[in-house]
Amino acid sequence: MMEPPRKRRWWVFWVPLVLFVLFVQLVAWQLRHPAERNVVSAMIGKPLPSFTLRPAIPDRPGLAQTDYTSGKPRLLNVFASWCVPCAAEAPQLARLKALGANIDGVAIRDRQADVTRFLARYGNPFERIGADDVSAVQLALGSSGVPETFVIDGKGVIRYQHIGEIRAEHVPLLLDKLKEAGL
């Protein structure tokens, strides 16, 4: 048009590029650090909540918080007969037991007959098994699913939480955690 050309601020045209570079930085960082989707228990480093569970099957005793003051660290495995990954981790639990770990179980929302069948089929690494019919103890432990495995030290303090099934590569890690807890 007839009007004199307005002087434009040249830097305006660089703003989109700068924003884009920031965006790329952000997502590149995100891609390298995949988000932690697990819910980590807030109970780590704290003593076990007090609980008493009746036996889940007749031939093993039930489980109570007082069982964790013997001075020796123990593993506490949260499982269920209806949980497929729990069956998948059974061989690893057996190996941990063979390597000297003491393991207790908490059966979540389960029936006696089902637990018996499950243990007969996949093996029974547990010294004690408590029945947690309404997930009360599970929630008190800060566990959000099955299976999960906790390392409890000799004074009854929760030292470590393993979320999901134990695969073969996790066994040394759990043993290390047990040793740190004084095994």
Binding site: E3, F13, P16, L17, V24, L26, V27, A35, R37
Partner: protein, 648 residues
């Protein structure tokens, strides 16, 4: 053999894309002018080869060739043919192949028909198109080969995600994809125009049909996707602000803005740098959407195969293309001379306000979608949902609707609000009346009431540009605009009515039990098992009666698929002119009763009718533009023909 044929076609197409890029680039230099003649034919053949590769893949899916890994992992011989067919693009590799095919074909069409642009701009555009295609060819061939064989050949395939086994969804992804990829042409045009400094009305007219076409497909794709989510997911909602939905909405918002600014550039030679910027942004949003969906960086109901390596690859492409284009824009935009000036109160002024508001809405959606990523970088986990999106989007959308009602009535360059005052008085009064009525009724909520009032006012106002025109001589593109704006109003009325008046009922019924929802009375007759081709289901037999009229039978199902094992709910719908009844069968409750979820949603189908009207408006506008172009081409042809005859 057939899979290898497809792979060969794909490699050849990639090689031609490389040739197209090199020849197109060289032809722009002073010494390489001889390469110019190669570019168009290469672009055409490249598209055809990509299409061949895609047709090959579709064929492999139709005959369920399980020796091809992609078929084995995504298909199953017991699947209905339609879903075998659609399964070809219902997965990562196939959809990427669809992407390059659409890009290649778009390049073919540009090469075949585009004659208006100055030749250098044209060549730069095709080179740009080849540059983008090449990255996707590399992605396909190096990290997601769709024709990879598997050995030993499995006896049976894995099947397709049952949620995707739906006629609507067979065509929803390709529709969206065509829209996404169509925007790549606008992107290439913008790059070509920037490189050759030819940003002007000619460039805008060449780009406009592509933007319109892509926008039509995006509109249809989003409408279809929304309806699919509505009846297939069984949640009774039609928009969830899910990251993947946002990924399709953002290119649509950018394309809508581009569509309007390109019109200003074409007819008034204004908004030059802005239009180029939007051309880049629109395709960037398509690529960003693809990246967000495929990389799995955001959690969403649309769980595609998540693969960090693929995510990195797409991010690389994104950085290369968008970063490159934005750098080019930053360097060149200051040399794009300013276009025509105009007053604030004018057609251009309204379009600029509309553009700014659309861009702000885009910003709101983009920030809401990416915010969880940003928060996660600082160690917090958040999810952003309707409480953020609804009010924040409304802040910009509501004024935009007002501008939309008034803008088309204004004259180009300079106008006064006084002149249009009389015309907008009637819609404004209607809107106010509705608002007062809604407030008197109470309980409808602020946003739904505003939406209802604005929707009805806009529906009336959108017809006003036809006033005083000879309807038979009104150009098709005006009809298109009117229809599209009217469609927006219709969709808005549907959405507002859904949130204001929906009645929901969650009950547990034993066979013989009765319940009601709104004007409907429902009786549960029985629950019975039924079997389909690759599923079994529990089916509820419900008799629904509207205000005591004769009962209609509906059968919502809870389906179990076995390949792969998955539960889905098939809702049952009754559509009346004044709304929809929506029933979902839930789990078995105690005492032989069954959970049923019933909604009565007054006028809810208007949402999707509106979407279709908007797309139809786009089709009319496109037809109008293309017809005008054809007439011009034919006229020019006649002149050259006469000249040739005279010359002899």
């Amino acid at each position: 053999m057939i899979a290898e044929f497809g792979l060969a076609a794909l490699w050849l197409a990639a090689a031609l894309a490389a040739l197209q890029l090199v020849a197109g680039g060289l032809s722009l230099t002073s010494k390489g002018a001889g390469f110019a003649a190669v570019v168009r034919p290469v672009a055409i053949v490249q598209g055809v080869l990509a299409l061949l590769a895609f047709v090959t893949l579709v064929y492999l899916f139709c005959v369920t060739d399980l020796s091809v890994k992609l078929v084995a992992t995504n298909s199953h011989s017991a699947k209905p043919l339609l879903y075998k067919f659609a399964g070809a693009w219902g997965n990562h590799e196939g959809s990427m192949l669809l992407w390059v095919t659409v890009m290649g074909l778009a390049g073919s069409v540009v090469g075949l028909v585009e004659r208006r642009l100055p030749e250098p701009t044209m060549l730069a555009t095709l080179a740009g198109q080849a540059f983008v295609s090449l990255g996707f060819y590399a992605f396909l061939l190096l990290s997601s080969n769709p024709f990879e064989r598997i050995s030993p050949v499995p006896v049976e395939g894995n099947g397709l995600n049952p949620l995707l086994q739906d006629p609507g969804l067979a065509f929803h992804p390709p529709t969206l994809y065509i829209g996404y990829v169509g925007l790549s042409v606008a992107f290439s045009f913008a790059i070509g125009a920037l490189l050759t400094n030819q940003v002007g009305p000619v460039f805008a007219r060449a780009m406009r049909p592509w933007v319109l076409g892509a926008w039509i497909f995006l509109t249809l794709g989003i409408t279809a996707g929304s309806y699919w989510a509505y009846y297939e997911l069984g949640w009774g909602g039609w928009w969830f602000w899910d990251p993947v939905e946002n990924a399709s909405l953002m290119p649509w918002l950018a394309a809508t803005a581009l569509l309007h600014s390109v019109s200003v550039l074409a007819s008034r030679n204004a908004l030059r740098a802005w239009t180029v910027m939007l051309g880049v942004v629109a395709f960037s949003m398509s690529m960003l959407g693809t990246f967000l969906v495929r990389s799995g960086i955001l959690t969403s109901v649309h769980a595609f195969a998540v693969d960090p390596e693929r995510g990195s690859f797409i991010l690389g492409l994104l950085t290369l293309y968008i970063g490159g284009a934005l750098t080019l824009f930053a360097v060149r935009a200051s040399s794009v001379t300013e276009g025509q000036r105009f007053a604030l109160i004018s057609r251009e002024g309204a379009l600029v306000i509309n553009n700014v508001l659309l861009t702000c809405t885009l910003g709101v959606v983009l920030i809401g979608t990416l915010y969880p990523l940003l928060a996660e970088a600082f160690g917090a986990q958040v999810s952003v949902g309707p409480p953020y999106f609804n009010p924040m989007a409304a802040v910009f959308v509501l004024p935009m609707l007002v501008v939309m009602a008034v803008g088309p009535l204004l004259r180009w360059r300079r106008d006064g609000l006084m002149r249009v005052r009389a015309m907008v008085a009637l819609p404004a009064l209607l809107g106010l009346a509705v608002l007062v009525w809604a407030a008197a009724q109470g309980g409808a909520g602020v946003l739904p009431s505003l939406g209802l009032a604005l929707g009805l006012a806009l529906a009336l106002a959108s017809l006003l540009p036809l006033r005083g025109r000879n309807l038979r001589r009104t150009p098709l593109n005006i009809w298109g605009m009117v229809l599209a704006h009217f469609g927006i109003a219709v969709a808005l009325i549907g959405a507002a009515s859904d949130s204001a008046f929906t009645q929901e009922r969650l009950v547990a019924l034993a066979p013989g039990g009765k319940t009601n929802a709104g004007p409907w009375t429902l009786t549960l007759r029985r629950i019975s098992p039924v079997a389909g081709p690759n599923w079994t289901a529990l089916e509820a037999d419900l008799f629904a009666s509207y205000n005591g009229a004769a009962a209609v039978e509906i059968k919502p199902q809870a389906r179990s698929f076995w390949t792969p094992p998955m539960q889905t709910s098939e809702s049952a719908l009754i559509t009346r002119w004044n709304g929809q009844l929506y029933a979902v069968l839930g789990d078995e409750a105690e005492g032989g009763r069954w959970q049923l979820r019933i909604w009565w949603k007054p006028f809810v189908p208007l949402i999707w009718y509106g979407g279709v009207l908007v797309a139809l408006g786009g089709v009319l506008a496109l037809l109008g533009r293309v017809a005008a172009d054809l007439r011009r081409i034919l006229a020019r042809g006649k002149i050259t023909y006469r000249r040739e005859r005279m010359g002899r």
